[in-house]
Amino acid sequence: MKFVPYAKSLAVALSLAVMAGCSSTGGTQDGSFDTGSGAAGGAGMGGTNGQGVSSGQVSGSQLGGEGSQQQAGIPDVRTIYFGFDQDTIRPEFESVLNAHAQYLRNHPDAHVVLQGHADERGTREYNLGLGERRAQAVEQFLSVQGVSPSQIDVVSYGEERPAVEGHSEQSYAKNRRVVVAY
C-alpha cells in the first residue's frame, strides 16, 4: 500500500506528539510522602493526612471508616453509668462495651484507661475504692469478651472529678460512671 499520502499526516501527528510530551514538567513534588495518598479506598483525607504521620499510626487510620470522629474506628459512646451503690454493668450498656471490646480485639495495639468515678456522698478515700470497683467491673467484662489485659489500665478518681456539680439525684447519677479513655 502506498505510504506516501499518509506520510504527511503521520509526520504532523508525530511532531505534535513529540511537542506534547516534551512540554509537561512532570510530578516530582514531595514525592516520597505521597505513597499513601494514592492508595485506593481512602476516605479522601489521605492527602491531608500525609504530613507528619508516623509509620505506626498510618496502619490504624487507613483501614476504612466506621463513622469516626478524630480517629477512625473507636466507638462514640465512651461513658457508662451505674446505679446507686452498684458496680454491676447495666444491660443497656452491654452493647456499648461490646463495641469497645470488638474494637480492642481488632486493634491489639490500642490501649484504654478505664477511669472509675463515684458520686460525692460519703468519704473520699472510700469513694476511691468504689470508683475502682466499677472500673474493674468494666475490665472484667472486656476481658471476658476476649480483650487482652495488656490493653487495659484502671484508674479511680473517686469523687474528685465530678462530671456535674450539685446535690440532686440527677447530678449523682451522672457522676457514677466509668469513662473508657483511649
Binding site: G122, T123, R124, L128, E132, S156, E160
Partner: protein, 428 residues
C-alpha cells in the same frame, strides 16, 4: 413527873432539829453556759499596733464554745494591771474572770504583759510577760489564749496550732487544686502545692514539720511527703491502682496507707526509712482510711466487709481485728481522740452524713452536727474541737464543732471549695 414530860418532849423536839449540826445540801446539777470573762483591751501607750491582741484572744476563747467574753461596751472599767482591778466592779456585771494587759513597743519588737484575775476568789491567777516581733503579734495573742484557757479549764489550749486543707477552683477540665497551710483560726494561709490534678488526704507528721498527701499529678494516685520548711518532697509510692489515705504513726517512723495493688484496697504499713511494706488486711472488701491510736499499738480503719462501711480496730501486737461500730449502716473515716477513749467519725443517718463521736468503752454513738454532707473530721491535739469539711449551698466549706457537740463555727473561705482539713499536732 407527869407535868414535866410535856416540857421535856418539847425540848427534845427542839434539840432533835438541832442535832444535825453538819447539815449538807446536795447540788446535783449546774448550767452548761459559757464562762463569762471580761477581756479589757490592752493598753498600748498610744502606739498603733498592726494587730488587736485582745480582740484575737476574745475570738479564740469564744470560738472554743466554753467562754462568753463580755461585749466591749459593757466593760465597767478599763484596768490594765492587777492593782487597777476592783473586784466588785466585775461582780456587778457577773463576770467570773478579768484579763488585763499592756503592750509596749521596744525598738522593732513589742513587750506584752498580761494578767488574769479571779473575780470571786479575789486573786490573781496568772501573770506573764513576753516579747515578740511585729510579725509575731498574732502568735503572741494565741499564746495568751492558750495560757488563759489552760488556767481556767485545766485543758491545754490549742490556739497556736495550724491546719492544712485542699482548695478546688474552676470547673471541669480547667479545675485547679491547691494544698494550703494556715493558722488554726484560718489566718496566715499560704499555698504549698498547686496542681491541675486532684490532691487529697493531707496528714501531719507528729513533729509538725512534714505533710503526707495524695496527688494525681502522674495520672494515677500516689503518696508524697513534703517538708514544710524547705518545700522539698519525695514520692513514696507509685503502685498500680489506688495509693491513698496516708497517716503518720505517733513515733513518726511509719505511714499507714491504703493500696489496691493486690486487687482491692487493703491496709499496709510502710516503714519510711526502708520503704518496707507490711500488709495488715487480706480480704475482698475495700479496706481504707486507717488511723493510729495515740499509743501506736492499734489501728482503726474503714472496711465494707460486712456489706457497708464500718469501723474496725486492729491490734498490732495480737493481730486481732474487731468491729467497733454497730450503729447505722454507714460509719467511716475514724480518728482517735488524744486520750484514746473515743473516736470521731462520719456517720450516715436518714438526714445525711454527720460528724459523730463514739465512746469506745460504752459503744455509744453521739451525732455532733446537723449539717448533711459532712466528711473528713480531724481532731485538735487537745481533744476539745473537731474540724471537718461540709457543704453550704453549693460551696464546700470547713466547720469546727466542740467535742461535746455544743458549740460550732464556720471557717471563712475565700473562693471555690475547701475540703480535706487536717489539724496539726501541738507545735510549741
Amino acid at each position: 413527873m407527869k407535868r414535866l414530860t410535856p416540857l421535856l418532849f418539847g425540848w427534845l423536839l427542839l434539840f432533835s432539829s438541832l442535832a444535825s449540826a453538819d447539815l449538807t445540801i446536795q447540788i446535783t446539777k449546774g448550767s452548761d453556759q459559757a464562762i463569762p470573762i471580761a477581756i479589757v483591751p490592752f493598753a498600748t501607750d498610744g502606739a498603733q499596733l498592726p494587730e488587736d491582741l485582745s480582740g484575737i484572744v476574745e475570738s479564740d476563747l469564744s470560738r472554743s464554745g466554753q467562754f462568753a467574753p463580755l461585749p466591749r461596751d459593757t466593760l465597767v472599767a478599763t484596768p490594765h494591771s492587777a492593782d487597777e482591778v476592783y473586784f466588785r466592779d466585775w461582780r456587778s456585771v457577773d463576770s467570773n474572770y478579768v484579763l488585763v494587759g499592756r503592750v509596749s513597743p521596744q525598738g522593732d519588737q513589742y513587750r506584752i504583759r498580761f494578767e488574769l484575775m479571779d473575780v470571786y476568789g479575789e486573786k490573781r491567777m496568772l501573770g506573764e510577760a513576753l516579747t515578740v516581733s511585729a510579725d509575731q503579734l498574732r502568735a503572741g495573742a494565741h499564746y495568751i489564749s492558750d495560757k488563759v484557757y489552760e488556767a481556767i479549764t485545766g485543758t491545754r489550749g490549742a490556739f497556736s496550732t495550724r491546719i492544712a486543707y485542699v482548695t478546688a477552683q474552676g470547673a471541669g477540665d480547667k479545675r485547679q487544686f491547691a494544698l494550703h497551710v494556715a493558722d488554726a483560726d484560718g489566718h496566715n494561709g499560704h499555698q504549698i502545692l498547686s496542681s491541675d490534678d486532684p490532691i487529697m488526704s493531707p496528714s501531719w507528721s507528729p513533729d509538725g514539720g512534714k505533710l503526707a498527701y495524695v496527688s494525681f499529678e502522674t495520672g494515677n494516685s500516689a503518696i508524697y511527703v513534703q517538708n514544710l520548711a524547705t518545700g522539698q518532697r519525695v514520692q513514696l509510692t507509685d503502685f498500680k491502682g489506688i495509693n491513698g489515705a496516708p497517716v503518720w504513726s505517733p513515733d513518726g517512723r511509719r505511714l499507714a496507707m491504703s493500696l489496691s495493688k493486690d486487687g482491692q484496697p487493703e491496709i499496709y504499713i510502710m516503714d519510711i526509712a526502708t520503704r518496707k511494706l507490711t500488709r495488715i488486711t487480706r480480704n475482698g472488701a475495700i479496706d481504707t482510711e486507717p488511723a493510729w491510736a495515740p499509743d501506736g499499738r492499734s489501728l482503726i480503719f474503714t472496711s465494707d466487709r460486712s456489706g457497708g462501711p464500718q469501723l474496725y480496730r486492729r491490734d498490732l501486737n495480737s493481730d486481732r481485728t474487731q468491729r467497733v461500730t454497730y450503729t447505722g449502716d454507714y460509719n467511716s473515716r475514724g480518728r482517735f481522740a488524744p486520750d484514746g477513749k473515743s473516736l470521731f467519725l462520719v456517720h450516715r443517718d436518714s438526714r445525711g452524713f454527720h460528724v459523730a463521736r463514739q465512746n469506745l468503752d460504752t459503744g455509744r454513738l453521739t451525732v455532733l452536727t446537723d449539717t448533711q454532707w459532712d466528711e473528713s473530721p480531724s481532731v485538735a491535739p487537745n481533744g476539745a474541737m473537731v474540724i471537718f469539711a461540709t457543704q453550704r449551698g453549693n460551696q464546700g466549706i470547713l466547720g469546727v464543732v466542740s467535742a461535746d457537740g455544743k458549740a460550732s463555727y464556720r471557717l471563712p473561705s475565700a473562693q471555690g471549695d475547701v475540703r480535706e482539713p487536717a489539724w496539726s499536732p501541738f507545735l510549741n
